[in-house]
């Protein structure tokens, strides 16, 4: 496969870092929106190589992390039912709900299955006509088309024993919410490349204008990230605030029109609670009226489950970039990947887990 090694070349990385250093004349705080980017930054030690004056703030773009506790509890409730086969992406299985996770539901007899493509869940539904098959449809715009395809196909093929537990979230409203927070320190964004692969870039120039911030669409390999940072710094230093696409090999301005058409058909915009952040208006998708019968929340009557987050967990502040993970008192003590208090410690894309996994040496010996 091409495009992996080529984008982690140390010599090219060194050149980009030099360019960033020579372009930087003062302190800048840049938020990478996507959890995949956070993981890559910490995994490769990119932030250690940047000039001291550039601070990377880790954004709320890990779908596992921002899925509200309430939604996890609904998933646990549904997955525990004897007539249900509950299908999910792997990393949702360890996310703690109020008193357990999906792994424990599985160990107690629940039929919980890891699938790698949402359409595999549809296959499970066809193979098990006497069971209700539910897919845990979470994620940003990136995973939405594949999740939408499941109910689109289910409807077309008349598969009635399939439903979707939906908790989709959207990037642009989150950027607005962060910029409008009174404590906001973010001066520029690396936008999530794969979100833009689906949605295109049209939603972002208005945000650049409204908040006076550069937004650079950025990929995920080390060189992608460094190039995104380089372009962001150049904009900041010259006082520009524009949308730039630093990930043109995957992102086109219009995005993926076929996927967008399907999303428009299957989903409708709704207010959505983000774990650790709270309610953000018009920041999510739910199934549209035409597909409401495939909504697992209604099919299994779990709409009344309401849960509060742990008071010890400061993942909200982490997700907003207000504190670094190790500045939370629970980090590494009450809260570890083994016993996570909040979802940012669960997914490898979560900022807390990334710090725990890769940065304990500095944190402990500093």
């Amino acid at each position: 496969m091409k495009y992996l090694d080529e984008f982690s070349d140390p010599a090219l990385a060194g050149k980009l870092i030099d360019e960033i250093k020579s372009a930087t004349s003062r302190r800048w705080s840049i938020m990478e929106v996507c959890g995949g980017q956070t993981h890559s930054i910490i995994r490769h030690g990119i932030d250690q190589l940047l000039p001291d004056t550039i601070e990377m703030i880790h954004g709320p773009g890990c779908p596992v992390c921002v899925t509200p506790l309430e939604t996890i509890d609904k998933a646990l409730e549904i997955a525990s039912r004897p007539d249900v086969i509950f299908c999910s992406f792997g990393d949702m299985l360890r996310v703690p709900g109020s008193d357990k996770d999906l792994f424990q539901v599985k160990s107690q007899g629940g039929d919980v299955r890891v699938v790698y493509s949402p359409l595999d869940a549809l296959t499970v539904a066809r193979e098990n006509p006497d069971k209700q098959v539910v897919f845990f449809g979470i994620g940003f715009e990136t995973t939405a088309p594949a999740n939408a395809m499941t109910v689109y196909q289910a409807k077309r093929l008349g598969i009635e024993n399939f439903s979707l537990l939906v908790s989709h979230v959207l990037v642009p409203p989150a950027i607005s919410a962060i910029m409008e927070s009174p404590t906001c320190r973010v001066q520029a964004f690396l936008a999530a490349g794969h979100v833009c692969t689906v949605m295109g870039t049209e939603e972002y120039p208005p945000l650049c204008d409204k908040y006076g911030i550069p937004i650079v669409v950025t990929g995920f390999e080390p060189l992608d990230i460094l190039e995104g940072i380089r372009r962001t710094v150049l904009q900041l230093e010259s006082g520009r605030h524009e949308l730039e696409n630093a990930y043109p090999r995957a992102v086109q301005g219009l995005g993926n029109p076929a996927a967008k058409a399907m999303l428009l058909d299957v989903f409708e915009v709704t207010d959505r609670a983000w774990r650790g952040i709270g309610m953000i208006p018009s920041s999510g998708w739910r199934l549209s009226h035409a597909y409401r019968e495939y909504d697992a929340e209604h099919r299994f009557s779990v709409t009344d489950i309401h849960t509060e987050e742990s008071a010890d967990c400061r993942s909200g502040e982490v997700l907003q970039g207000l504190i670094k993970p190790h500045e939370c008192a629970a980090f590494g003590t009450l809260c570890t990947p083994r016993n996570p208090l909040g979802a940012t410690m669960v997914s490898s894309e979560g900022a807390c887990a990334a710090y725990y996994l890769y940065r304990r040496l500095e944190v402990t010996h500093a």
Binding site: H44, G45, D47, Q48, V115, Y116, H326, R360, L361
Partner: protein
């Protein structure tokens, strides 16, 4: 202690590294969960907090994959392993190859020459006989290749739906070479860490044909008996300190175990770890780290720096060690932990896997 490479230090720590253990292990699940079998932290806790207390004074197990028993002046290595791989056949091997090579390798890692194996089969009602025959044939072929005799065995059948076709347990006995003392505790500051070749092949090969995840790859399992390679290494006269085959949990889990047992830090150079492009790609696609992916025909050796050259030379002349490479060193810093210098020049911790590695969402 270390600042980051650009001199930035991170905020003062209130965290005591030594106290970083789960305060009440096992409390978070009243049942066995899949992670307990992952070979990582959860497996360790199950042994430490359930099996050992329950076994009481009867338990007398060391840290290694093999026990060393003195019998009539000779040192015997004794080891057992169970095999529950799904699917039964995968590119490059079957559960039968694994069952033999797994136990042969556990014995070899203690410096023993494997001699005899037992084989116990737990069969699921309804399993086609020709499928079982293929597995049994693989057991025989692998035993011949490894030069071990299959001297006793057992067969049980369980109801349909209570097993995945065939489970195999093997146990084995080998004679430990009188010249060696190989155990993880002996790894010492200054030692070099050698891996015998390309990592991640077995795990990727099995994943490539697992239901729901089928992807096209040319990767085949590296399952192989390592007793010949180990014998060649011992013949050099080098004082091999520690040796492990990085199976479940991969290179990362194995190195963490060694670091913990010997109370040394291990520092890796990520750039030189031999990871084939196909493994890197498959892991990139699935969101997995090759350091955590299982191997079935590789070993990690920790040897004094002065012995490294002759050990490497002996390994490279052997068919199963052709790409042997030094990937890191034992260091006085961060005892019990493994760190890696990244290709770009940053550093990171290489932690013990917790349970199972989970493919990421996106």
């Amino acid at each position: 202690m270390p600042e980051t490479s650009n001199g930035r230090s991170v905020s003062p720590a209130t965290i005591d590294m030594e106290a970083w253990v789960c305060p009440a292990p096992l409390r978070d699940s009243p049942n066995i969960v899949m992670g307990h079998g992952g070979g990582g932290a959860m497996s360790g806790e199950l042994i430490e907090h359930l099996f050992l207390p329950a076994f009481g004074p009867a338990a007398d197990a060391g840290m290694g994959d093999s026990a060393i028993i003195e019998v009539g002046g000779a040192r015997l290595a004794f080891s057992t392993d169970s095999f529950v791989v799904k699917p039964l056949a995968f590119p490059g091997g079957t559960i039968g190859d694994l069952a033999v090579n797994g136990t042969v390798n556990d014995l070899a890692m203690a410096g023993a020459r494997p001699a005899v194996l037992s084989t116990a089969f737990i069969l699921e009602e309804g399993t086609p006989l020709d499928e079982l025959a293929r597995v049994a044939q693989a057991v025989g072929t692998a035993a011949m290749a490894a030069g071990v005799k299959l001297v006793t065995g057992d067969t049980k059948v369980v109801d349909a739906g209570h097993g995945d076709g065939v489970y195999i347990n093997t146990a084995g006995i080998g004679l430990v070479d009188p010249r060696v003392d190989i155990r993880p505790q002996r790894a010492a500051v200054g030692d070099v860490v050698i891996v015998s070749g390309d990592i991640g092949l077995h795990g990727v090969a099995v994943m490539s044909c697992r239901a729901g995840l089928e992807f096209a790859t040319t990767v085949t399992s590296d399952t192989a008996p390592l007793n010949g390679l180990v014998a060649a290494m011992i013949e050099t006269g080098a004082d091999i300190h520690a040796m492990r085959d990085p199976t479940r949990g991969g290179v990362a889990a194995t190195l963490n175990e060694i670091a913990k047992a010997a109370k040394v830090g291990i520092s890796l150079d990520e750039r030189v770890i031999p990871i084939p492009a196909e493994v890197r790609d498959a892991c990139g696609l699935l969101g997995l780290d090759p350091l955590y992916v299982a191997n079935e025909g590789k070993l990690i050796a920790v040897v004094p720096a002065d012995d490294a050259d002759r050990v490497l030379e002996a390994m490279r002349s052997h068919p199963y060690g052709g790409r042997a490479t030094v990937i890191g060193r034992c260091v006085p810093e961060h005892p019990g932990m493994v760190s890696a210098r990244t290709a770009l020049g940053g550093t990171r911790v290489v932690d013990l896997p917790i349970g199972e590695q989970l493919p990421r969402i996106c």
